[in-house]
């Protein structure tokens, strides 16, 4: 009997359940993806090349756990608000409170379990597609990474079931304390809290202080070392929360009282935003943090991505040198996207490498323009005398004869008469290591096979590219991967929170329709209302990132170099989500002008 009632209850509010379930599935999916990286220590060790990476991941994990708790608690409040009326009705019809309690706990845990299982499956799918895509785009090789990772599955399931069980117990105690009649009339409670100026001012000051401490801690990461991260996490979360609750309400109330508000639907929209922002303080805090983390992760990922070519360029003026090109190697070299190509002859006699001066006069050897300390990757072709002076100390030129201790330049006839091991060198600079990495790998492998040289004796930018990719590629991959995962989490958080509030707005927009508000005005109001909910955390998130990037100063030349572009790209993705949410919301909320249409 009760089961039947429960099923009818679900049928009636099917749309709400779909929204709720979807949100939970996405959040558990992302949790799984993150866990599959964060607790996979082999993966982190093999790919980060930086010892603190494991700790950073653990902090990330803790943060994600907190976010998940907020998310689950919100989901359960929503669930309870949906079911409350039904439970009240069952009790009126004579069902025992205990039975209702059992029903509720079962329902809740079942929902959590089902959502997380589907979420894990979804997570595996997304993780495989996303990682394949990133591998191809970034040209990095990742070791010990697998989209299907058992321990992460177990963790995700455990976390969700435990959180839902906790939430169920909390809901239960709430339910038991509420009188039946009140359960039946939950819809119409007062929603407006009065402004308390002193308290709000205090909260604002405290919030700013917290944020300042957090940002300072991040900027001082060199002296504070690892402690900077927990300090920053706590203070920034707290600060953002306080600032939200203090400022937004006050500012909106001030605007509402001003001349500006008296036009068209502005009062209404402002009130809606005010009402929303207050109810959403927790979720908006979470969102602004997620936004910052996602943007931060992507910025750092992009920072590494940008850094690798610069570092590669400063290692050597050329990409590879091919010794005594075979027809097969020549065929491979034709596939490269060559920027420039030179060839020289070399004769090895004893521990000295000899070159023909005339060849360098005819086609000058491009060399790194500046010595080590001032090296900025610029390449220059020097005059012959100058070249000869510089060549004997230039690392990229010396790398052409790794086993010789001396280098000598001879004139044409001397060189031609010289006995010894003769080699033909082909020196190539390509436009992009990433683009040509597959061909470069084949040529290098072939050279290694033929001359039995250790890999890094081959010289050239490509060997540096491989080295840095091993070192930073993992970090870069993690940055992008996590950034995109966080963005999805963030969007699902905000989107589902907003969509789940649609029920109450349906009533409001219906009222507006009846008193003669045009469709255009209503749509505009929704754009402003929902848009603001996206913009506020977005702006705070960007500010968080601009300060947060301080943390990466020890790792990156200039973490701020391309942050503008990352922010732009990120905002476009985020904007897409906002647009999607707004369109969905509009469809849910704006009524047709007339009943029969």
């Amino acid at each position: 009997m009760l089961l039947k009632l429960a099923i009818t209850g679900i049928k009636q509010r099917f749309r709400d359940y779909v929204v709720l379930l979807m949100g939970l599935i996405i959040s558990s999916g992302i949790f799984y993806i993150f866990a599959s990286l964060a607790i996979n220590t082999d993966f982190i060790k093999a790919n980060s090349g930086i010892s603190i990476a494991a700790q950073v991941f653990m902090f990330g994990m803790v943060l994600l756990l907190i976010i998940t708790m907020v998310y689950v608690s919100y989901a359960n409040t929503f669930l309870l608000s949906m079911r409350q009326h039904d439970y009240g009705l069952f009790m009126m019809l004579g069902a025992k409170k205990q039975n209702i309690g059992v029903l509720m706990v079962l329902e809740t845990i079942l929902l959590g379990g089902v959502a997380s299982i589907i979420g894990i499956i979804l997570g595996i799918g997304v993780s495989s597609v996303l990682s394949q895509f990133l591998f191809n785009q970034l040209g990095v090789t990742i070791h010990h990474f697998s989209p299907i990772y058992g321990p992460a599955m177990i963790d995700t399931l455990t976390v969700y079931v435990v959180l839902f069980a906790l939430a169920a117990v909390l809901n239960l105690s709430k339910l038991m304390r509420t009188p039946v009649l009140k359960l039946l009339h939950v819809e119409d409670e007062a929603t407006n809290v009065r402004v308390r100026p002193v308290l709000q001012a205090l909260a604002a000051v405290l919030g700013i202080a917290c944020l300042a401490i957090g940002y300072y801690a991040m900027a001082q990461i060199m002296t504070l070392q690892l402690t900077a991260i927990p300090i920053a996490l706590v203070t920034i979360t707290l600060g953002t929360y306080l600032l939200f609750s203090a400022i937004i309400g006050g500012v909106l109330t001030a605007i509402r009282k001003s001349r500006f508000a008296a036009k068209r639907l502005r009062t209404f929209t402002l009130a809606q935003i005010n009402f929303r922002v207050r109810g959403y303080t927790r979720i908006l805090t979470v969102v602004s943090l997620l936004f910052a983390m996602a943007l931060g992760a992507i910025s750092v990922g992009a920072g590494f991505q940008r850094q690798i070519p610069t570092m590669v360029a400063s290692i050597s003026s050329y990409t590879i040198s091919i010794k005594d090109e075979t027809p097969n190697e020549a065929k491979l070299a034709k596939q490269l996207h060559v920027k420039w190509q030179k060839s020289y002859q070399q004769t090895i006699q004893g521990d000295t490498a000899y070159y023909n001066e005339a060849a360098f006069a005819k086609q000058p050897f491009p060399m790194l323009a500046n010595p080590a300390a001032k090296n900025d990757g610029r390449v220059k072709q020097f005059s012959l005398p100058e070249f000869k002076k510089k060549a004997i100390i230039s690392s990229d030129f010396l790398a052409l004869s790794p086993t010789s201790n001396h280098i000598r330049f001879l004139n044409n006839s001397d060189f031609n008469n010289l006995k010894g091991q003769k080699h033909q060198l082909t020196i190539i600079r390509v436009h992009s290591n990433v683009q040509d990495r597959k061909v470069l790998e084949k040529i290098t492998a072939s050279q290694q096979r033929r001359f039995h040289e250790p890999f890094f004796n081959l010289g050239g930018g490509y060997s540096g590219f491989v080295l840095f990719n091993n070192l930073f590629g993992g970090l870069e991959f993690m940055g992008f991967f996590l950034g995109i995962a966080f963005l999805a989490m963030l969007a699902s958080c905000l989107m589902f929170k907003i969509l789940s509030g649609a029920n109450k707005d349906v009533v409001r927009y219906n009222m507006l329709n009846r008193i003669g508000v045009s469709q255009r005005l209503m749509k505009q109001a929704i754009w402003q209302e929902v848009g603001t909910l996206f913009i506020i955390p977005g702006v705070l998130g960007i500010i968080d990132v601009l300060f947060g990037l301080q943390m990466f100063k020890p790792l990156l030349y200039n973490p701020y170099e391309i942050v503008g572009w990352t922010i732009l790209g990120f905002c476009m993705l985020y904007g897409l989500y906002a647009w999607l949410t707004i369109s969905l919301y509009r469809r849910l909320v704006v009524p047709p002008m007339q009943l029969s249409k």
Binding site: R259, A262, G516, S518, Q519
Partner: protein, 252 residues
């Protein structure tokens, strides 16, 4: 003297349900007019079509056939912006469930129809003060609906319906959710405004006491106007008796 009516309804018909579905004729061949300054009541048993009629008059729904003219404007064909403007400017509607926006203060709720027309702020402030005085809610203006009693809420709703001086005021059982004292206050207010400002009022009601405030009552049954009752200068008490009598004959 012949005056043009504010409301003129001719051969109005409403059928619910699409062509292929099960259809239900909720209104059949309704004809009546409301003169300027008239207070008209619409009564009838539950399901007789009162709300349907009022929805058609207030353009919330479209008739299947027939014409509705309000203030010399055919309203059944209005669309889009014209429709919205018509609702916002010509009609003041008081709903049974108040229809106040709970996120706005009483003052903001009342100002809404004026804000929609971009009336300057100083004029809005004055108009709201004035209507609040008339309805004795001046000291409640800065409260939120959740902080008001049912009767107070309905007076705020009435103020919002009146503030922009609409051509006609309509109410679908506006006293339905009120206790008898609040109901009486609201009806007194409505008839005062009706008399002083000469605004016509169209009131749907179940309740003979509410109906006794009207000048004329239309009785609807099964979607048709079955009977009309005019007050013709009677005292309210006597008219009340007459209404009760009329309802008695209906029930048999």
């Amino acid at each position: 003297m012949q005056t043009t009516p504010i409301v003129d309804v001719k051969n109005l018909q409403k059928i619910y349900g699409a062509k292929k579905e099960k259809q239900y004729e909720a209104l059949t061949d309704i004809n009546f007019a409301v003169a300027p300054g008239e207070f008209v009541g619409i009564m009838g048993p539950s399901g007789s079509g009162k709300t349907t009629l009022l929805n058609l008059l207030s353009t919330l729904d479209v008739p299947t056939a027939g014409s509705v003219r309000i203030n010399n404007q055919e309203v059944s064909h209005l669309k889009g912006k014209q429709l919205a403007d018509f609702r916002a400017q010509q009609v003041g509607f008081i709903f049974q469930d108040f229809n106040l926006l709970e996120s706005l203060t009483a003052r903001e709720n009342i100002s809404l129809p004026l804000s929609l027309q971009d009336v300057p702020r100083s004029k809005t402030v004055a108009a709201v003060e004035e209507v609040a005085q008339t309805l004795s809610i001046a000291d409640l203006l800065d409260k939120y609906p959740a902080e008001l009693s049912g009767g107070q809420k309905q007076r705020v709703a009435a103020a919002r319906a009146l503030v922009h001086h609409p051509a006609i005021i309509m109410g679908d059982e506006p006293t339905g959710a009120l206790d008898s004292k609040s109901a009486r206050e609201l009806l007194d207010l409505l008839s005062n405004i009706n008399q002083q400002q000469n605004v016509p009022v169209l009131l749907v009601t179940h309740d003979p006491f509410s109906a006794s405030f009207c000048d004329r009552i239309l009785f609807i049954q099964d979607g048709r106007i079955k009977q009309e009752l005019s007050r013709q200068g009677q005292a309210r008490k006597d008219f009340y008796g007459q209404i009760l009598e009329q309802l008695g004959t209906f029930e048999q």
